[in-house]
Symmetry: C2
Subunit: 111 residues, 2 copies
DNA sequence: TGGTTATTTGGTAAAATTACCAAATATTAG
DNA sequence: CTAATATTTGGTAATTTTACCAAATAACCA
């Protein structure tokens, strides 16, 4: 049955389901960053970045700490990096040799 | 910078960002299932399940095979199981002191 | 004190997602 | 062939997400 734990888990995936937020998470695997760093690199509005960060924070993926005028964000769920590598491997494997690889991995690729 | 690979990766997370689809993926880790099995357990419309399955399939997470009148689905990205366990651990570890409010996670809201 | 910098919050319109219904398709049974 | 079963597709309304702007807040500096 569809328990609440699926809903909770889906919040984590929802939080990660945006290119900008994946970029943020990737960057945080190398260490903490302040908000302005994301703004500079993502080239979107400060408020947009702030809202992306709050989505990640509400899902528990990152935490924040204010130091002076700046707010620094830090990764909390470290296993996401491993899954990201898995996805990238999966996607590139499929990208290089799409049909064949899918057939060697399993049966019945339609479409 | 925000490359296309982030967008591609986000499609995988988007595909997983729904309780019903997480349920489907979980069930498929135990082996292939036909569509009607999901319909029975999720208690939603056949068409709804079918669309959830097509989202997962388009993201490359699952594959399908028609046998007779039935269509059987099978998990393709197996590492998702490991990440799910990581999330569940993370959530339950945090659950003791800091409960996540399921309703508080919309964009733009803070704790 | 007032001004500047860093960030968050509120509002809003456009875009995406969701779930249902009805209809279409495909396979098997009679 | 026609009917029945299993699934997908198209349409649609309700909900959610997104990105921007403007305004609010908070910390620091002159």
């Amino acid at each position: 049955m569809l328990t609440d734990s699926y809903k909770e888990r889906s919040l984590v995936f929802k939080a990660l389901a945006h290119p900008s937020r994946l970029f943020i998470v990737d960057k945080l695997t190398a260490g903490e960053c302040c908000v302005c760093e994301f703004v500079n690199e993502l080239k979107v509005d400060f408020s947009t970045v702030s809202k992306h960060l709050s989505v990640l924070k509400n899902a528990g993926l990152i935490s924040d700490e204010k130091r002076g005028q700046q707010v620094f964000y830090r990764l909390q769920m470290h296993c996401v990096g491993e899954f990201n590598r898995c996805i990238d491997n999966f996607l590139s494997r499929r990208g290089n040799d799409q049909k064949v690889c899918l057939k060697c991995c399993a049966v019945g690729e339609t479409e």
